[in-house]
């Protein structure tokens, strides 16, 4: 499934890297501990988090993640948006809390690995 379809289905606000939404998603990973994401997420995963610090872009870039969705309508820091644009990491925001968002993603066919 492509990020663009997920954006449309779940009504996500895209904050950065609009040009890269045709990227495919291999699965999802949800965690707010960045060391854990570094250790356990997989390439092509869509990452669900509430952390808004610019290091989320660094982690996504290092692990080759498909994109990041921030939950609860959290607004990313300015540096985070700029870095995501530079590094070409799609950065989206959902108004939903993490539990609801992950459930919706699962129903769309985005699995856990």
């Amino acid at each position: 499934m492509k990020i663009a379809e997920i954006v449309q289905e779940l009504n996500l606000a895209v904050w950065a890297a609009k040009a890269s939404l045709d990227r495919g998603v291999t699965g999802g990973y949800a965690s707010d501990l960045l060391s854990d994401v570094l250790a356990n997420s997989k390439e092509g995963n869509l990452w669900i988090t509430l952390q808004i610090h610019q290091n989320i872009v660094g982690v996504a870039s290092m692990k080759g993640l498909a994109g990041i969705i921030l939950v609860n309508g959290r607004e990313p820091e300015r540096e985070t948006v700029e870095k995501a644009e530079t590094e070409n990491i799609p950065l989206m925001v959902s108004e939903m809390p993490a539990f609801e968002l992950v459930g919706r993603l699962y129903n769309l066919g985005v699995g856990g690995t």
Binding site: L33, L34, S35, V37, L38, Q51, H53, N55, G58, E77
Partner: protein
């Protein structure tokens, strides 16, 4: 110059998660007993027991540095150590202005404010165990605005540590040092000095980990020089 053994991260009974026996005279006695020359008091998001321990330390000839352990919005713990009480109070004001919530004693524990003789003089009702709305960068900048030292707490742990929460140390973050909770390789790949501290929440933990500095006088200014390896001052072991 002389070798000074310092434990720069102790809690008192003000921290909800610390033992209630962590009181002014007991902390100082235990620190002396285990051979420390210097301690720093760093309760969670508050410095209201610093004066009590500092006065008790003065009586016993133990140097006590005033500080606090500030929680960032990313849930990273940063130690803030200051030269003067006035600077420490500026930092505390800023933290209080950005620290939402009220403590629940049942859920998190008591937050007791004491005097230098351990008399209870009040209770802090703020949610000290909680996180401020300040980012790591804002906290480090504020500490330096008031001439303090900014040290990332226990970077070898997963929870509440800079590396655990944020995966790696943000580029250009102007820290004075990293703290580890035991001798280990964590943080050594970065270009920061590393200190070892106990993060004591119980009396028996005081001095269990410490850092030895080669410095001229027992002061925070000298510790700063040692971290920067200035004028022969340096860290000589843990």
């Amino acid at each position: 110059m002389r070798k000074v053994r310092a434990d720069l991260h102790l809690h008192t009974c003000l921290s909800p998660c610390a033992d209630n026996q962590m009181q002014a005279t007991a902390i100082v006695e235990q620190a002396r007993k285990v051979g420390l020359d210097m301690i720093a008091i760093c309760d969670h998001n508050s410095a209201e027991n610093v004066a009590a321990v500092a006065k008790a330390g003065q009586r016993a000839g133990l140097a006590v540095i005033g500080g606090m352990e500030v929680t960032s919005s990313e849930e990273v713990h940063i130690l803030a150590l200051f030269h003067t009480e006035a600077d420490l109070m500026y930092m505390q004001d800023m933290v209080y202005e950005n620290l939402p919530g009220e403590n629940s004693e049942e859920a998190f524990g008591t937050q007791v404010i004491i005097d230098e003789w351990n008399n209870v003089v009040g209770k802090n009702s703020r949610l000290l165990i909680g996180a401020t709305t300040l980012t790591v960068e804002q906290i480090v900048d504020s500490i330096h605005r008031w001439a303090g030292l900014a040290i990332a707490s226990h970077v070898d742990r997963e929870r509440f540590s800079l590396i655990g929460q944020l995966g790696f140390i943000p580029e250009g973050l102007d820290l004075d040092a990293l703290e580890v909770s035991k001798p280990c390789s964590a943080g050594r790949e970065y270009d920061y000095p590393v200190v070892t501290s106990s993060d004591a929440h119980f009396l028996d933990d005081i001095g269990r980990r410490s850092t030895c500095f080669m410095i001229e006088t027992v002061s925070l200014g000298e510790i700063r020089k040692a971290l920067r390896r200035e004028l022969g001052r340096r860290i000589v072991g843990n």
